[in-house]
């Protein structure tokens, strides 16, 4: 991961630079301390071993002294001979055990080794047959007091009942203090009557000495290299320091070796031991490094932050911002450069503004001209549109007037003739000059005139109906959904079946989307287009053909009607939708068919219609219909 921030780089660099020598020097010092510590530990171990040995020795000596002291009490001395003294003897033995908590059991035995008294109570149940050999004194008179007999034993029975064995050490020390009866009647001599046996397990001897061993230390007692007791187990693979002191306890032979073992301490343990100091030193060092890092980063970071601020303000357009003074010339130099850049920007900006103003003014002027021109054009367009409308209206009115003029004129003439004839008849009748022949002639004339008037009126009515059809006023406005191509096919085929003339071939191609449209209007449109093709297009065509093609767009559908008739000239394509435009007026066409198509497409189909030339010949009509989104689609 790349570090992109200067601050982070600075921090890391400072830390490395500060800590590297610290660690190196620290490691060296630790090594020195470790060696010194080893020496101290060795000495301390020696002193501790001495202390332990002294304490253990004191304990044993105390027990031996008390046993010796008891052995001189008459009740104790008499007990091997008679249980009369056993009550008092038991009290004394119990006191000995109480005063010497490391003593597991104390007994008074006779010379046969039979237990006369024992303390504590449970010890009286222990069979001491294995210890009879301790009673080695001569039962006869001894010139001098027989000595204490000491021995090492290994017997788990001497753990106090109810107490769990302390470890799995069962070794201990037993000594036999002879009970002597000095005869009062004889000048000298001691008679051994029995013994006090005292059992001291080493685990008890060690317990509660008040000497605390560290976790890494272990005290052990051994004799002739054979370990008798150990306060803890040590891992044999661990390096150790050892000190051994030989203790000649109670004339025990061979003597007991008291050994204190201690694990050597690793540097890590040393560190843990002196963690307070280590923490202090590391803490101080870290604090210094942090302070230095803070100082340096601040002195670098702050100017950079100020410069960033300056750039930021300038970038936001605040070129008048005055950067604060910065420490260090380098940063100040950059600041000055940025300020001069800002000044230049301001000057350039002003120049630019002036230019912009000028250009804007020029543009405004041009715009104003353009606006004026546009208005003029719009006015002209409006005028043209009005003129065209007026022209179209004029054309429509003149067309309507023209068409109506003839039948109306005929009608008027006919009605005038009838009126004249009627007047003539009346006059003759009044004069009495009316003949039958004249009446019949006049009535026949009137009948003819009436018939002529009727046909003219009918013709006028038909024209008016046609005019109405142009506007599409009679068209049903219901919208329905049909597949367009299929519907067109159906309608045209049906349309053709009603005609008796040569029918054109029908071709249908393209998409067949289902759309909603005014079926009545489209039906009328197709009818008008077909009429137009039949009457105008196919007059000289021997193989007339009509092609319908539907194309579906995104939001519209295109319906193309093509015939292979004679087509229309290019310049007349835009006129064919005008009312009363026809190229065959003399043949009775009034020129409203395609105008009706135009109106129906515009008003009822809400689309657009245009005409185009079909190659090699023919007329094409393209109708654009809008689709309703989500409703219509390809079938």
């Amino acid at each position: 991961m790349r570090i992109k921030q200067l601050r982070s780089v600075l921090w890391l660099s400072l830390l490395l630079i500060a800590l590297a020598p610290t660690l190196t020097i620290g490691a060296y010092l630790l090594k020195q301390i470790s060696e010194l510590d080893q020496q101290n530990v060795s000495h301390a171990i020696y002193l501790k071993t001495e202390d332990i040995t002294r304490q253990l020795t004191q304990r044993l000596q105390q027990s031996a002294r008390e046993a010796l002291s008891l052995s001189q009490v008459s009740d104790i001395q008499m007990t091997p001979n008679s249980a009369i003294f056993s009550y008092q003897a038991n009290l004394l033995l119990s006191e000995l055990v109480q005063h010497n908590p490391w003593v597991s059991a104390a007994y008074i035995v006779n010379l046969k080794g039979q237990v006369m008294e024992g303390a504590p109570l449970f010890s009286q149940l222990v069979d001491l047959e294995d210890y009879h050999h301790l009673l080695t004194w001569d039962s006869g008179s001894n010139a001098s007091p027989p000595a204490l007999v000491t021995e090492i034993y290994n017997d788990e029975r001497f753990h106090r009942r109810g107490e769990p064995p302390r470890g799995d050490n069962h070794h201990g020390l037993v000594f036999a203090q002879p009970l002597l009866q000095q005869s009062f009647n004889s000048a000298s001599g001691y008679r051994v009557t029995g013994a006090i046996l005292v059992f001291i397990p080493f685990a008890y001897l060690w317990h509660d000495t008040g000497i605390a061993l560290e976790q890494s230390q272990r005290i052990s007692l051994s004799q002739d290299g054979s370990e008798l007791f150990a306060s803890a187990h040590l891992s044999p693979s661990q390096p150790q320091l050892k000190t051994t002191i030989t203790a000649g306890w109670l004339s025990l032979s061979p003597p007991i070796d008291v050994t204190l073992s201690s694990d050597t301490r690793s540097i890590w343990q040393l560190l843990l031991e002196r963690r307070a100091n280590v923490v202090l030193v590391v803490g101080l060092n870290t604090a210094l490094v942090i302070a230095l890092a803070l100082f340096l980063t601040r002195h670098i970071q702050q100017p950079l932050t100020s410069l960033t601020q300056v750039v930021g303000r300038f970038s936001m357009g605040d070129y008048l911002y005055k950067p604060p003074p910065l420490r260090y010339g380098e940063f100040e130099q950059v600041s000055e450069l940025l300020s001069s850049m800002a000044n230049k920007v301001m000057v350039d900006q002003e120049l630019l503004e002036q230019r912009v103003k000028q250009r804007t003014l020029e543009l405004q002027n041009a715009n104003s001209e353009l606006e004026a021109t546009l208005k003029e054009l719009e006015d002209t367009q409006q005028q043209l549109v009005e003129k065209e409308k007026l022209a179209a209206l004029g054309g429509l009115v003149s067309g309507v007037a023209h068409e109506l003029n003839t039948p109306l004129g005929v009608g008027i003439s006919a009605s005038s003739q009838i009126a004249d004839n009627a007047s003539q008849v009346l006059t003759q009748l009044e004069q009495g000059q009316l003949s039958k022949h004249t009446l019949i002639n006049t009535m026949e004339q009137n009948q003819q005139a009436a018939q002529l008037m009727e046909s003219s009126m009918k013709r006028a009515a038909a024209l008016v109906k046609s005019f109405k059809a142009i506007a599409g006023a009679d068209i049903d406005s219901t919208q329905q959904s049909f597949p367009l191509l299929s519907w067109c096919q159906q309608r045209l085929e049906m349309e053709l079946t009603t005609r008796n003339q040569a029918l054109p071939a029908l071709r249908f191609a393209g998409d067949n989307p289902t759309i909603r449209f005014n079926a009545s209007a489209l039906e009328q449109i197709l009818h008008s287009l077909l009429e137009n093709s039949l009457q105008h297009g196919f007059t000289d065509q021997v193989a007339p053909e009509i092609a319908i093609k539907v194309t579906k767009g995104t939001e519209e559908v295109f319906l193309e009607y093509r015939d292979n008739g004679q087509g229309v000239d290019e310049e007349e394509l835009t006129l064919i939708f005008n009312p009363f435009f026809t190229t065959r007026r003399g043949e009775g066409n009034i020129g409203l068919g395609l105008n009706q198509v135009f109106n129906l497409v515009s008003l009822h189909l809400h689309g657009e219609v245009s005409a185009f030339q079909v190659k090699p010949q023919g007329l094409g009509i393209k109708i654009r219909l809008a689709t309703e989104p989500g409703v219509n689609g390809n079938s």
Partner: protein, 396 residues
């Protein structure tokens, strides 16, 4: 204290006057010392013989006598329970001739002094038996069985007191339970500790403490001072304590038989309190003085004084009968005598001494839960037999 006493004894022996006999008198009883002191002064006035009285505690008596005997020190006369005669061979008690025995001493009392068929002591007092004392203010109807006593425990506990007290670990008290189950510590010269009766007694006895009826750590004060102070409703104590209890409780003191165990009436020990003469003192230089002393203590008036001042029961048959009749309405005396009638005399044979030690050893191990009752009775028997054997071997 025992060492101090021994030194005092030695000192007194060496500083005795040589005009008339100077006797050392070991008095073994905690009660009545002053009365005996007064009587000895009277004796001294009458005869000119000086008698130094030394009181010895019960546990120290036999060891002190044996030590004295073994060291050749002089103890002229010992006043102690008759079972102390069991160490007759060790301390060389004098055989007491018939002439020294008052005609008023009942044969059954004399029998308590027999050791291997020889009379080794002169009975002065009788009884020394246990009985049931109770506080009439707390107990309207004394329990006659241990079951009835248990039934009274809840009500007494509600009043904030314990039911009964006696020195629980003391074998003299435990022995009565053994007897009640039909057992005996000795039979003639034989030890009979290992018996079903002993085992039953051990179980019953431990159950008394396990059930909370008696505290297993109770000492002598439980059976005396606790009753006086109203801490217990009942106490089992001896005839020796009767005077003190009567003095302290007055008419509130009730005396009756110790509760029976089911249909088995309680059978305590009894013994006589005798004069005995270690180191064959009767045949020593102070023999005459000792004989006079013996006569003095067997006199009617002396025995009467003793009774009047200590309530100790005299062996003087006539006096005893008179007292029994005179104090027929004395419920305290009658209660004591009622219990005495069920007591059995302690043996003075040498096995008795070993029996006491053996029984104590086995009892301690059993009560601490180290052995069961069967092992305990066996231990008692083995220990006592071994001790008796040793004594015989070590006694010259």
């Amino acid at each position: 204290m025992r060492y101090g006493l021994f030194v005092t004894l030695f000192a007194s022996l060496f500083t005795a006057s040589s005009i008339a006999a100077e006797l050392s008198f070991f008095y073994y009883r905690e009660q009545g010392k002053q009365v005996f002191q007064t009587l000895l002064e009277q004796f001294s006035q009458e005869t000119g013989h000086q008698v130094a009285l030394h009181q010895v505690l019960s546990s120290d008596l036999q060891p002190a006598l044996v030590k004295a005997a073994l060291s050749g020190q002089t103890v002229d006369v010992v006043f102690a329970p008759s079972d102390a005669i069991s160490i007759a061979n060790i301390i060389h008690l004098s055989a007491v001739p018939d002439a020294m025995i008052s005609e008023h001493v009942p044969p059954e009392q004399l029998a308590t002094t027999l050791n291997q068929g020889v009379v080794r002591g002169i009975p002065i007092l009788q009884g020394n038996h246990l009985m049931l004392f109770y506080n009439k203010a707390l107990v309207s109807q004394p329990a006659q069985t241990w079951q009835a006593l248990r039934a009274q425990q809840p009500a007494l506990a509600k009043q904030g007191m314990r039911t009964i007290g006696w020195p629980y670990p003391d074998m003299y008290w435990f022995a009565g339970f053994v007897h009640s189950f039909g057992g005996r510590m000795t039979q003639g010269q034989s030890l009979t500790l290992d018996s079903p009766a002993m085992q039953q007694a051990l179980r019953f006895y431990r159950d008394l403490s396990d059930s909370g009826l008696i505290d297993a750590n109770c000492d002598y004060a439980c059976g005396l001072q606790a009753l006086i102070d109203g801490e217990v409703a009942y106490a089992i104590n001896g005839e020796w304590a009767l005077a003190e209890l009567q003095q302290q409780l007055g008419t509130q003191l009730g005396v009756t038989k110790i509760p029976a165990i089911g249909d088995q009436h309680f059978v305590p020990f009894s013994s006589s309190l005798v004069l005995m003469f270690p180191n064959d003192a009767l045949n020593g230089p102070n023999g005459e003085a000792l004989a006079a002393l013996s006569q003095f203590f067997q006199r009617y008036d002396t025995q009467l004084k003793i009774y009047q001042q200590t309530r100790f029961l005299p062996v003087h048959q006539q006096l005893f009968s008179e007292l029994t009749e005179q104090e027929a309405n004395n419920p305290v005396l009658q209660g004591s005598l009622l219990q005495l009638a069920d007591a059995i005399p302690m043996s003075a044979e040498s096995v008795q001494n070993s029996a006491w030690t053996g029984m104590r050893k086995g009892f301690e191990l059993y009560i601490q839960g180290l052995i069961d009752e069967q092992q305990a009775s066996q231990f008692m028997q083995q220990y006592a037999e071994r001790d008796h054997r040793q004594q015989r071997e070590n006694t010259p």
